[in-house]
């Protein structure tokens, strides 16, 4: 049944007892053309595009827990595409373009809210960095505005521009914003199932069957399955699955934490990121401040970080917004992010034939969801990455052609 205001009203007369399942829980079939391992936004999206744009019929998505239960449902929902390097810009902007039509495309409101995102600059070096990135965005056709201190103060009420590290300016991307993270997983799941995709939850992959260097099947907690192609999209467990297939990755899995405050009436209507003072914050539609910062430096699969990371988000938040000091932290949580040496993802082929991988999104995966899913679907279908995906191959770690987004933020003098 189509989701619409009309149907909401219509169903209200039957007390909403006639809504169908958004997605069902089919049994694992013995054989699939393509199996996607990982039921997060990226995995479900990949299945959706495989079915919709490449007409693949027999697809399953295997999720070891509940769909959207990984980083899809644990991030701070920031969406932007103002990356420095052409390769990143192309990838993330492809995503933003898809985000803009996603609610209609999926007939599911993912609440993509283009409230605008400000990268704050606190030093001469920061100004150089945002100017360079701003220009690179501008010339790549990505909207970018470089603001001075007064403009920032005017556009962001209550911000403290004269703190220990004064706000000298900001890089504004108006098309950036946030979205409702759960809805992305649910929307893709519902749309994918409408196209015949089997979504199988509580199904953990325990082994990968390989014969003559080609993937042929999977061993799961719900039995074994024959496959023609497999796409691994297992954020937080990339290395674990890679090891099952007999290869390793340039990845460390580290804790990333975030938190929300108690809900308050609208007080902040844009997204703020500060790399120097080190915090990012936005306000959700529910009224909660959603706050995040850096990840821990040690490897962990515990989905818990060390609490000082949370503490180190609070002082910067109060420094930038002294008025938030009396608000309350309501809930904090941790996720596992797979970090690559250059902070860019790995999308493409693996040493195993017909086994493809999409991982290493670090802290930036959510914003890329539709773009990542879209290019990965094509990669799996064709067996070759398209132009957007190509630079993010595993091989770059041998050739040295890193897409180093971390590098540009080096400290000067």
């Amino acid at each position: 049944m189509k989701y619409s205001l009309y149907n909401l009203v219509k169903n209200s007369f039957s007390y909403h007892e006639n809504w169908e399942k958004a997605w069902s829980s089919p049994d694992l079939k013995p054989e699939y053309d393509v199996v996607i391992v990982g039921g997060g936004g990226h995995g479900l999206g990949t299945a959706y595009y495989l079915a919709k744009e490449f007409g693949v019929k027999n697809i399953a998505v295997l999720e070891k827990g509940w769909i959207g239960g990984g980083n899809t449902g644990r991030n701070t929902t920031i969406i932007r595409s103002n990356y420095l390097w052409d390769e990143s810009a192309a990838l993330y902007n492809h995503a933003v373009n898809l985000w803009e039509g996603l609610s209609s495309e999926l007939n599911f409101n993912v609440m993509f809210s283009q409230r605008g995102l400000f990268h704050l600059a606190h030093s001469v070096h920061d100004m150089q960095e945002i100017t360079r990135r701003g220009y690179s965005n501008y010339l790549n056709g990505i909207d970018a505005e470089i603001l001075n201190q007064d403009q920032v103060a005017k556009k962001i009420p209550h911000i403290n521009v004269n703190g220990r590290y004064p706000v000298l300016g900001a890089l504004l991307q108006r098309r950036a914003g946030t979205a409702r993270h759960d809805a992305v997983a649910w929307g893709y799941a519902r749309a994918a199932e409408n196209l015949g995709v089997d979504i199988i939850q509580n199904c953990e992959v325990k082994g990968i069957d390989i014969s003559n260097g080609k993937v042929v099947g999977l061993q799961t907690t719900k039995g074994s399955v024959k496959v023609d192609k497999v796409g691994l999209v297992p954020a937080g467990h990339s290395s674990v699955l890679a090891n099952m297939a007999g290869f390793s990755l340039p990845i460390n899995s580290v804790p990333l934490q975030a938190l929300v405050s108690e809900p308050v009436k609208p007080i902040l209507d844009c997204v703020i990121m500060s790399n120097s003072v080190h915090v990012y914050v936005s306000q959700s539609d529910k009224g909660e401040l959603v706050v995040g910062a850096g990840s821990d430096a040690y490897n962990s699969y515990s989905q818990r970080g060390s609490f000082d990371m949370i503490e180190h988000m609070m002082a910067p938040l109060v420094e930038l917004f002294p008025i938030f000091s009396r608000l309350k932290m309501l809930r904090s949580w941790g996720g596992i992010v797979d970090v690559t040496p250059d902070r860019s993802p790995i999308i493409g082929k693996t040493p195993v034939k017909d086994l493809f991988i999409n991982c290493g999104w670090g802290t930036g995966g959510f914003k890329a969801t539709p773009g990542s899913a879209h290019v990965f679907a094509e990669t799996v279908f064709r067996g070759e990455p398209n132009d957007i995906a190509a630079p993010f191959s595993l091989e770059r770690h041998f050739s040295g052609a890193l897409v180093d987004e971390a590098a540009a933020a080096a400290v000067a003098h």
């Binding site: 007892e17 803009e100 150089q128 108690e262 009436k265 009224g287 420094e319 000091s325 309350k328 040295g400």
Partner: protein
Amino acid sequence: MSNQNRTIYGGKVNREKPINFVFNGKSYIGYQGDTLASALLANDVHLIGRSFKYHRARGILTAGSEEPNAIVQLGLGARTEPNIRATEVELYEGLEASSQNCWPSVNFDIGAMNNFLSRIFPAGFYYKTFKWPPSMWLFYEHFIRKAAGLGQSPTAKNPDRYEQKFYYTDITIVGGGISGLLAALGAGRSGCKVLLIDENPELGGYLLDYNFSINEKDGKKWLKKIIEELDGLANVTILKRTTAMGYYDYNYLTALEKVTNHHVEFSNTLPRERYWRIRSKKVILAQGAFERPLVFADNDRPGIMMASAGQKYLSRYGVLPGKSVVLFTNNDHAYLTAFEFVEKGAKVTVVDTRDLLNARISEKCKLLNIKVFKSYSVIKTYGDKKVNRIEIQQVDKNQNQLTGEVENIHTDCVLMSGGWNPAVQLFSQSRGKLKYDLKINTFVPDKIIENQKIIGSNNGQFNLQENLNESFEAGIAAANELNFNSVEKVNWTGKEEIEFTHSDVEPYMLGKKKVTKGSKHFIDFQNDVTAADIFLAQREGYISVEHTKRYTTTGMGTDQGKTSNVNALALMSHIHNKPVDEIGHTTFRPPYAPQTIGAIAGRSVDKLFDPVRKTSIHEWHVENKAVFEDVGQWKRPYYFPQNKEDIHQAVKRECLAVRNSLGILDASTLGKIDLQGPDAAKFLNMIYTNAWSKLEIGSCRYGLMCNEHGMIFDDGVTSRLGENHYHMTTTTGGAARVMSWLEEFLQTEWLDMKVFCTSVTEQWAVLSISGPNSRKFLEDLTNIDLSKENFPFMKFREGEVCGVKARIFRISFTGELSYEVNVPARYGRYVWEKFMEHGKKYNITPYGTETMHVLRAEKGFIIVGQDTDGSVTPSDMNMDWIVSKKKEDFLGKRSYTRSDTVRHDRKKFVGLLVNDKKTILPEGSHIVEKALKQPPMKMLGHITSSYYSPTLGYPIALAMLKDGISKMGEQVVVPLMNGKIIEATVTDTIFYDKEGKRNNE
């Protein structure tokens, strides 16, 4: 009339000490010892606020930290605080509070119309609409955002202080109820260091509100003695008004102590709250349990509260919330409250879902003539802003439905008791595993992970007698396990008039129809989640507990589901007809209760937010009006404006002074590392790209450091002070990184290399004098022979300057004749002032980092981090001359032969001169292949440095340009955001004194 619901006697409030307070603009009087909630009830105020989604009238449900309904905006102006639980606020003189989430007023709230439209707003309705047209979402969202949110954020800076504390102890006990107190006594008597935390202003927990006996005597007196003994124990620390917030691995607890929240006068020196970080060898959880609401239609009206809350208001605050009261229960213990209410003059009717009732209770009910409806259920309630009537109906448990006549009862207060849920939030945070206990129908602790005990009702043990002795012995055992000597066990016999009994979770008995046909059976009060919403979520496939939670938002309010979780799970188990254990539960996440952000920030605010690192000459710069630049944590003079100069005028003047006579720069912030040992040279050969074996004693050499990936990450001059002794300098920002880089290889890779690295950054003040007159100037002030012959360029000498032992390095970052004078930091300012004094005749000019940048740019010297960005090799910077071909190996070398690093079209470091001779290209603007009307345009590189050169009289720029070397002399275009297109010519990177004569003078 005031305090009309206050009993004449009884309770712990001090009727002699009236306290004035204001709620929603109206003045009231409460008493010392009241909470805001009890004082409001005493004054017959039941309507406290409006609910999140439907804006339904809401009152006071509980008497503690689990309260979902009675949350208010507390205080005014900069000190206003949203979402405060009235049940926790201790009344103080002048307190002002108001209702939230209502407009224009809590009595007449426009938003309440949502309640009538509620049928089209089921759980997750927003996922199904507002999608078209996409461009409109921001518009719809605007109204959704306005409607959402609870209280108002302050809009002024918080004037209060928050302190923090690290604390180590043997045993931390969370919860000062009977179990916690006795555990503390047991451990305390054993002599170990004990910390007892309780969130209330008074110890004793629920026993403060109920009558009980110890060894046949009045329990309250006994309780008092226990507390007195604990107060007397030096090794026991008691924190009241302190909530344990987070429980992390390694027994790390965080807690928030309210220090002055309950005072009217605010203090500038005392903190409002103190945030504790607690490390304990052992933790004992004794947090007790929360009473569970019952689920029935319109169970959310003001006047409907938990039985235990009614008990507390009556016995602790002397407040009778209603005169004709209905107790709706599924267990025995709640009858105590019925009796209490009758004794205090209320008329009580009991609706009990069970058909059997123990004889003693029946008799007492008869005695007090309490009418009891057995195996009945409340099915609906009425009353606009407060409950005034309820409907009850018989329950047929076997048929699992309601039967018979619907009967009406008029009432002004409904007390409900659906049994008790242990407060397992912290236990669960500590990764303890829960199991569902079918006896008491709730989750109880199962597997413990940390070094921890959990006792009393917190552990699902509700029997007083058992708790007394078990808790005391748990305390002793904990101490024993930490090797403290045992103490004698004690045997108390404790009795309550009625013991706790088994209780069911009730929602299942409502029958599916009743629930879903429009009426509202609330599960989560604050987030307006009804039983129907839970049904809907299951119907639509949101079956995992996490999906149900996220889809319906149950348990996601500011109370984090303390009252709603178990009912929601029980309902799910009913719908799927599976045991609750198979349904599972959501994870409890820290903090236990909402925690002030300012308290977590502590004193790291304002000027203490982050250290300002200062050189020994800093104060002089301040006194001389320097404009500062942040470089990492350092403050460096950016430029020294005179009179009304702007940055351009000042920098121009400073540059010309250096080029023509004499300038002075405070270069103390440069990183300095002392290297000593027989393998020092060998080590430098590995660390730097160039060769160091042949550097003579007394000589200096510039070096580049690259990471193993082959990319430049720092540079600087290193000098050989002695046979095995070197002095390394690094960039200001890179100092710590370089030190760690050196130690990493010495400590983890080349353990047998004999080199010691020691940071001496702050030991030395560095005064860099530069300009044609610098030699003449310095000669008067030092005993060192500065003659060109004796002290040539790139040499180092030791001697005295202004009577101070000094090291002088003849190196230059400006291209002029320069000396870097190093003196011990304590003399930095003295020597600087001497220099200024003696330099007058050369018009000595202090200059800042901007002038330094311009001067070095004129010479084409790179700044790591500005001209390089972590993705460039020495070769990219045309610095192959500094990359040794002979050396077998050095860090990064191997990476230069990879396919990507040998690419010919890599970006190269070049100079740019704008053709119009006047435009200063923005640093960060890009060179494009072809300028087009609008983007996208293909980029070839970017401008890394760009200045007006006062020396040359026109702008200069440095850039990274694709295949730049082969483009020398070619024209390139740089489009600006304002649409202008700037044409420039590619040049080499040295704009001034190409032969480098001047610094060799």
